[in-house]
Every structure is written in structure tokens, then in C-alpha cells.
């Protein structure tokens, strides 16, 4: 029963000004009891109380609503003010003052913005008081409006919080949707790769077919890169981060890097990609991720580098760790672009045929971080160079963490 209106009692409890209002009311009028009451058709519930006369009500305490004058105020919407019950023509015979033993009474309706009646700000005292006075009435009206405004804003905040929570849940669902979509798109794409391979097997000797199939493979490759990046971005937003499947396998690393370079050469037959791979030692890496990172870096270099100059890839795996560099000639990256280069959706100027989202370098740097490594960029007059550095034993040797560009 009581819990029906606990929300209202709590709302009034949340308004810091209410105890002060009750105190000011009592001091100004000289009355001994003041309260904010929730008044409905069938309930009168004290929400906040200041009681100097041992009237005996606590917050949550109730009066029989039909025995209160607030009941009448709820119906009329007008305040009731009685200086002295004994001398008041309207109330001298009223049962309520006699029942509760008061002579002075004031009650101001608290009306919400939507016009609904919340309850009253009221005060009583066993002695008469001078209440029918514009200052007193004005003060009560002002306080009642203040309480109503607070209640409105409490509700507004609750609504906003609810909307925000719903929006957050929806946002998370959207990210999840993208992650799942990315995952599901990979299978049909793999089918197309297989189909193109099967056709190539049969028609490799025909120059036209071969040309078309190579172009198809290039498109599929770009699409796979986009899907991987979007799915990983969604996953990183979901807080899962990138999980690695580490393997130390020198032959696999060499094959992985060669395969990425080959794929991009096939997709860009008019461009030159010069690769130098030297794997002396196996380093624990997630080879799928390293392939994705290299593909993103070469894709970036092909988009932003000079068309007639080669993209240079160098990879070195030895006792000290794994270092992978991708370098292109071209206009230097502006300092302000450079500062946000690894942020999601960062886009450079002057790129050609650039994928639409600007996620490639962000994902590449996330892959570097997940490996405990760094991805750094230097951009000068001659070239722009990205270097992935994954140390075998992180803090042991740190003298080459900023490699200078050199051929």
C-alpha cells in the first residue's frame, strides 16, 4: 500500500530545498507544523515534515483524506487560508480544525506543469496566525511552484536517463549487429574467392578471362579488408578488444607476408610493391592479424603514395623481435593530420580510391597494441613510413624504437 507513493516521497526527499522551505515557512508565520503532502483522491501522505508541536506525523505518515481540508483544495485547486478558525465564518463549524486541534491553517496547491495536482504545501498551528497577507500568500505560492518545478525536472531527468539507457542499449545492439554481419559476410565472400580460383584454373590461358578474374580477385580482396576492419571496429567498441591467436612459426610468417604482398600486387598490377622479408627467428604473432595490418598499411601506401614510385615493404624477424615497415613516396602528411592518423574515421587528403571509412590505420594500430607492440609513422619530404615494432622481450632492448627512414 505504502509503496504506491514511495516514489513521490522519494522525489520530495531528493529536493534539497524542501527542509529549508519548511523551516522558512514556520519561522515566517510563527506556525509549529509544516509539511509537503501528496494528496490524491483517496490518500493524504506526508512527504516531508517539520513538526515543532508534536503533531505526530512522519514522512510516509497518512491522514484520512476525507478528514483533511487538502481534499477540498484538490477538488477546487484554490489555496485555503485561515487566520483563526474561531473567527472564520467558513471554517468555524468545519470538523477538521476540531479534529486536529488547530486554529491557524494555510495550504497551497502544488500543481505540476501538465496541470495535474500533486498535493499541498501546508502549515498548521494550535494558535491563530496572521496568514492572509500578500507576502505570506506570495511566499507560499512561490514555494509551491518551486517544488512543482523540482518535481518536473526530476521526472525530466528520469525520462532522459531512460532514453539514454535505451539509446546505449540500442547502440550496443547496432555494434553487435555490425560485428555479426561482418562475420556472416565472410563466408559468401570466401565462396566467391573459391569460385574465382576454380574459374582461373580452367581459363588461365585466355587473356580476357584471366584479366577479368584478376580484377574480381582484387575487388574481393578490398571487400574482405573492409569487412574485417568494420567487424573489428564494432568489436573494439563492444569492449571485447582484439583477441590474438599467437603462433611462433617462421615459415608461416614468411608465407603470410608473401601472400599479402602477392594479393595486393595482383589487385594493383600497375603499381610496384618491393618487398624484402627476412625471417630468421619465429616470433609469437597472430598471423591473420599481421596479414590484416600489412594489408591495411600497403593499401594506405597505394592510396596516398606517388603512382610512379614503388611502395617498399620490409620485414625482419629475429631474436630481438619483429619489425615491419611500409614506406611510400609522396606529399608529406600534414602535422595536424599526423596527430590523429590512428584515430577511427580519420581521413587524409589527396587519397585515391580510398575505402570509405578511415578505419584501416586505426585497426592496424589496435593490432600492434594487442601484440604489445607499437605502430609509428614518420612523414618527411621524401617519404612516409609506417613501422610496426614488436619486441620479443619488451623492456630489454629499446634503442631502435624510433627507426629513421632509410632504404
Amino acid at each position: 500500500m505504502k509503496s504506491d507513493y514511495q516514489r513521490d516521497i522519494d522525489a520530495i526527499g531528493k529536493i534539497d530545498a524542501v527542509p529549508t522551505i519548511l523551516d522558512v515557512v514556520c519561522r515566517t508565520t510563527g506556525m509549529g507544523f509544516a509539511a509537503v503532502a501528496r494528496v490524491t483522491e483517496d490518500r493524504w501522505i506526508a512527504c516531508s515534515v517539520l513538526d515543532h508541536i508534536a503533531f505526530g506525523l512522519q514522512p510516509g505518515g497518512e491522514l484520512k483524506v476525507e478528514t483533511t481540508i487538502c481534499h477540498e483544495i484538490r477538488q477546487s485547486g484554490d489555496p485555503v487560508i485561515i487566520n483563526n478558525v474561531a473567527e472564520d465564518p467558513l471554517y468555524c463549524g468545519h470538523p477538521t480544525p476540531a479534529m486536529y486541534g488547530f486554529q491557524s491553517y494555510i495550504s497551497m496547491p502544488i500543481v505540476r506543469k501538465d496541470g495535474s495536482f500533486f498535493g499541498t504545501l501546508c502549515a498548521i498551528d494550535p494558535k491563530p496566525a496572521k496568514l492572509k497577507d500578500p507576502e505570506i500568500v506570495g511566499m507560499f505560492r512561490l514555494f509551491a511552484e518551486l517544488i512543482a518545478a523540482h518535481l518536473d525536472s526530476i521526472d525530466q531527468i528520469a525520462v532522459s536517463e531512460q532514453l539514454l539507457a535505451r539509446e546505449r542499449a540500442f547502440g550496443a545492439m547496432r555494434e553487435k549487429f555490425i560485428a555479426v554481419l561482418g562475420h556472416d559476410l565472410r563466408n559468401p565472400l570466401a565462396s566467391i574467392v573459391s569460385g574465382a580460383k576454380l574459374l582461373m584454373r580452367r581459363h588461365e590461358a585466355e587473356p580476357d578471362s584471366r584479366h577479368i578474374l584478376l580484377l574480381m580477385q582484387g575487388s574481393v580482396l578490398r571487400m574482405r579488408g573492409l569487412i574485417d576492419n568494420i567487424a573489428d571496429f564494432a568489436r573494439s567498441r563492444l569492449g571485447g578488444g582484439l583477441t590474438l591467436d599467437l603462433e611462433a612459426d617462421a615459415a608461416l610468417l614468411e608465407r603470410t607476408l608473401d601472400q599479402v604482398v602477392d594479393e595486393l600486387r595482383t589487385a594493383h598490377p600497375d603499381r610496384s610493391i618491393i618487398a624484402e622479408v627476412s625471417v630468421d627467428q619465429p616470433v609469437p604473432l597472430d598471423h591473420g592479424r599481421i596479414a590484416q595490418l600489412l594489408s591495411n598499411l600497403i593499401g594506405n601506401a597505394l592510396s596516398y603514395g606517388d603512382l610512379d614510385k614503388p611502395v617498399r615493404v620490409s620485414a625482419k624477424a629475429d631474436n630481438s623481435g619483429f619489425e615491419l615497415a611500409v614506406e611510400n613516396s609522396g606529399t608529406p602528411i600534414r602535422a595536424d593530420t599526423l596527430a590523429n592518423l590512428f584515430e577511427p574515421f580519420a581521413r587524409g587528403e589527396g587519397g585515391r580510391n580510398v575505402e570509405g571509412l578511415g578505419l584501416g590505420l586505426f585497426i592496424a594500430s589496435e593490432i600492434a597494441k594487442a601484440h604489445g607492440g607499437t605502430l609509428e609513422v614518420t612523414s618527411g619530404e621524401v617519404s612516409t613510413r609506417f613501422v610496426l615494432d614488436i619486441r620479443a622481450t619488451p623492456p630489454a632492448r629499446n634503442n631502435s624504437s624510433h627507426p629513421e627512414p632509410n632504404d
Binding site: H183, R186, N187, A190, S191, I192, V193, S194, G195, K197, L198, R201, D245, R255, Q259, H287, G288
Partner: protein, 124 residues
């Protein structure tokens, strides 16, 4: 156990183009190959053809039984059969595959297949 001359490989893969591609690669390597689109069809083939010595199966497959469950069933009913699990996504936990199963990440290369098949033959 030595490898038999007529040793057949059974490819279990639901995507037809991927299955055809894999079958073509294996045939190029000189293996007789059978193919099945799901675990139920694979079991029927194993029951009717004792020459199948190796099963290559994709992780994500529709139907009543997934590939990892298939590995346990094959290990139970045809213990000498080699098992190779392929996936383009996550490497399955060792405990999710039957004992002795080998994992290859997609896209499969002829090199990977050669290596794993040679290791399986050498190991048994």
C-alpha cells in the same frame, strides 16, 4: 599404420564453391576425393566406403551435427581415420575437437594441406 594406396579423403564443407575448390586442390595433389555437404552425408559415406582414411571438415556448418561433434563421432567409430578441421575464424580449443584432430586456418593453401597430410602420415 601405413598409408594405403587407395586412401581417400572425404571433404565435408557446406559452401559448394569452397568445397569444389578444396576438392580440386586435393585432386591436383593426386588424392582420390569424396565430398559431403553436411555431417549426415559424411557419416553415410564413411559407412559405405572403408577406403576413406582422412576427413577434412569445416567448423561452421548447418544441419543437425556440427563439425566438431563429427570429429568425436568419427574418432569413436573409425578410430584410425585422420581428422583435419578447417576454419576461417577462431581456432577451436583442443578439447572441442576429437583427439588427434589437426587444425588448418582458411584460406587453405596447398602447402598447408601437404604439410599436415605428411605429418599425419608420418605420425601414425
Amino acid at each position: 599404420m601405413t598409408s594405403r594406396p587407395a586412401a581417400k579423403i572425404l571433404v565435408v564443407e557446406d559452401e559448394p564453391l569452397i568445397r569444389m575448390d578444396l576438392v580440386a586442390s586435393l585432386e591436383d595433389m593426386g588424392f582420390p576425393v569424396l565430398e559431403a555437404a553436411n555431417a549426415t552425408a559424411a557419416i553415410a559415406m564413411l559407412e559405405s566406403d572403408p577406403a576413406i582414411t582422412t576427413v577434412i571438415t569445416d567448423v561452421d556448418m548447418p544441419g543437425t551435427m556440427d563439425c566438431l561433434a563429427l570429429t568425436f563421432l568419427v574418432r569413436d567409430r573409425w578410430p584410425p581415420c585422420h581428422l583435419i578441421v578447417v576454419s576461417g575464424h577462431r581456432r577451436p580449443n583442443k578439447s572441442d575437437m576429437a583427439e588427434g584432430s589437426r587444425f588448418i586456418r582458411k584460406p587453405l593453401t596447398t602447402h598447408d594441406l601437404h604439410r599436415v597430410l605428411a605429418e599425419l602420415d608420418g605420425g601414425n
